[in-house]
């Protein structure tokens, strides 16, 4: 009797497990299909894309879309600008984050709790869009490259993550020993703490890099000059507002061909804009998970 029960239970469990596998396969398919569709379309011919013949693999493989992208000066400028903003932005972000997170991780730091409160309050409450815009304007950096890196120079959430990391992984005795040896605080931070904190630095670099590369809002409100536009703004103009200089579409004189190329371009642009940041993902996946976890310890 008992045994029959046990077997029946396990049959039910097995069905349940089967349902879970089916569910996860569905999730997998739903997430991956749009990505494959974009990728395949970007490598197809304009005619195939427009007539809807692409549904899984590329049809009439061609690199037309990519050729057009890399011959368009606006897109290239955007690419270079985004690269500059990301590299410069991340450098500023990391220096600023470490510079405040490390002192705050020291229990002897005078005013530590008060400063933490000042920081955390900025998460809970903000002055709002217009006063921030007016402040940036008053600082004289409107429509300059600095407007892309200074207003977001520091993310308080990342400061908390970094501080928690320093607190939990750098042994106190290490700092005391260094002090006895006459090592200065900055020397200790540079020579001992940072080499021990590669994991958290990787996490910070990644989160900040993704944020900087993908940002469009700051550019939208602070930048006026097209030559300063980052890639995301150019993407918005082409992909969402549908405005592209038709004369830049080479080899396309007829209306239909031009429309086809315009559509194909969208797919190629999506790939070109996403691949640089997606490339680093496999290398740092484990750090990412770790970083989210550190952040959650003391959210």
């Amino acid at each position: 009797m008992n045994r029959v029960n046990a077997i029946r239970e396990s049959v039910r469990d097995r069905i349940f497990l089967g349902l879970i596998y089916i569910f996860l396969f569905c999730v997998l398919a739903v997430v991956i299909y749009p990505l494959i569709f974009i990728l395949s379309s970007s490598f197809s011919s304009p005619q195939a894309v427009v007539s809807g013949r692409v549904w899984l693999w590329p049809v009439d493989i061609s690199l037309m879309g990519y050729k057009v992208i890399f011959s368009n000066p606006a897109i290239l400028t955007g690419y270079i600008n985004s690269f500059i903003y990301t590299v410069l932005g991340v450098m500023i972000n990391i220096v600023m984050t470490v510079a405040i997170a490390y002192p705050l991780s020291k229990s002897t730091f005078v005013g530590r709790n008060a400063i933490m409160m000042i920081l955390v309050f900025t998460i809970l409450f903000s002055g709002g869009l217009i006063p921030t815009y007016l402040t940036v304007k008053a600082a004289g950096i409107l429509d300059t490259r600095w407007a892309m890196v200074l207003p977001g120079a520091l993310a308080v959430f990342q400061v908390i993550v970094a501080r928690t990391f320093f607190q939990s992984t750098i042994p106190k005795e290490l700092g005391e020993a260094a002090e006895l040896d006459g090592c200065s605080d900055i020397g200790f931070l540079w020579r001992v703490v940072l080499p021990l904190s590669k994991a958290i630095l990787a996490v910070l670099i990644l989160f900040y890099a993704v944020g900087n590369w993908n940002a469009y809002f700051d550019a939208l409100i602070y930048l006026k000059s097209p030559e300063l536009y980052p890639l995301q703004i150019i993407l918005r103009n082409i992909l969402i507002l549908n405005s592209i200089d038709a004369s830049s579409l080479v080899d396309a004189n007829q209306m239909a061909a031009r429309q086809g190329l315009r559509d194909l371009l969208k797919f190629s642009l999506i790939v070109v804009a996403t691949v640089p940041i997606l490339c680093i993902y496999p290398f740092v996946q484990k750090f990412f998970v770790q970083g989210i976890m550190i952040g959650s310890i003391k959210g």
Binding site: F16, L24, L129, L150
Partner: protein
């Protein structure tokens, strides 16, 4: 009382007691010895003051008629004029309705989704499959808002997108999804789930990995089925993390991100897609009504702050998890 306790703790550390310095002087000595640490925080603190606290101070233009020449404090004080005109404007209830509607919908779908994914992933034994699902579902996190919205528009467009083929394949007429106000919320919410589910699941998977294995052993001995095990071991295990995340999202309920909504907006769907943040942007920066839109923004920020504090204190009372 608290101060007394602090001194007695300090006294207990022999080192301080022997030096016999009063606390203020001891502090000053500590600052002098570690002056470099105080030097380090100057730049970050300057950033916080300039780009966070000066705008907070500037938020007072909500109570003034801002003029560029007179600045934050010099402009004429008008009291609650801008708040009143916002409350009385025909847009007020529409904005509140849209903002709350999208938020609550997001919360109802977006909050449980990563939990379900994490629980499902936690059940399967095959590490390879688990890893694949995790890696793939995490990937959309890297897609920018601009690209995400472009993808949505392409997929739903009658000419290029596969969604339309499916709709027509099922025998329906093709639907102008982006131009139909009734679809806006669903498109917004489910595309968010698509993009965020893998990222959201990470935290729950870690919480599940941290559950004491003895609890599973005990459940096995008691003859618990998989579902019962999820109900009585897994769910209590992830509850603290879930409560924290719930508090955070409820505190943000009036604070829908501007970026995605603004990009998804078009003249046809604006009746359901206009929310407070997009309205502030349009009135303020595009329409140059600085004071009026600051008032709208400030109203919104204050509501958010109150919500967050309320939810946090409720969470504190009914469970052990809270933000502070």
């Amino acid at each position: 009382m608290v101060g007394k306790m602090k001194t007695s703790v300090m006294d207990a550390r022999g080192k301080y007691k022997r030096s016999g310095l009063p606390s203020a002087r001891r502090k000053w000595k500590g600052i002098k010895r570690h002056w470099q640490l105080y030097l380090l925080i100057i730049a970050p603190m300057a950033y916080i003051v300039i780009f966070k606290y000066i705008p907070m101070y500037g938020a007072q233009i909500a109570f003034r008629d801002y003029s560029v020449i007179k600045g934050f404090t010099g402009s004429e004080f008008v009291g609650l004029k801008h708040f009143q005109s916002f409350f009385q404007s025909p847009n007020f209830w529409l904005l509140i309705k849209n903002t709350l509607g999208i938020s609550l919908y997001s919360l109802a779908v977006g909050f449980p989704a990563p939990i379900i994914l994490a629980l499902a992933l936690n059940e399967i034994k095959s590490m390879k499959f688990k890893k694949t699902v995790q890696t793939v579902t995490f990937a959309p996190f890297f897609i920018s808002t601009v690209v995400m919205v472009s993808m949505i528009i392409i997929f739903l467009s009658p000419r290029l997108g596969f969604v339309d083929y499916i709709v027509r394949g099922l025998g329906f007429d093709s639907i102008n999804f982006m131009g139909t106000p009734g679809y806006f919320k669903s498109i917004y919410v489910f595309s968010n789930v698509w993009q965020g589910i893998g990222y959201g699941a990470v935290i729950y998977l870690a919480a599940l990995a941290g559950i004491n294995p003895e609890l599973y052993e005990a459940a096995k001995v008691d003859g618990a089925s998989r579902l019962q095990k999820i109900r009585h071991v897994d769910l209590p295990g992830i509850a603290p993390a879930a409560i924290i995340l719930l508090i955070l999202s409820v505190g943000q309920i009036m604070n829908i991100g501007f970026e995605k909504i603004y990009l998804m907006q078009n003249p046809l769907n604006v009746s359901t897609s206009e929310v407070i943040s997009t309205y502030v942007y349009k009135m303020g920066l595009l329409g140059a009504n600085f004071s009026f839109s600051s008032a709208v923004d400030l109203f919104n920020s204050v509501i958010n702050l109150i919500l967050l504090i309320t939810v946090n204190s409720i969470a504190k009372r009914i469970s052990e998890s809270s933000l502070w």
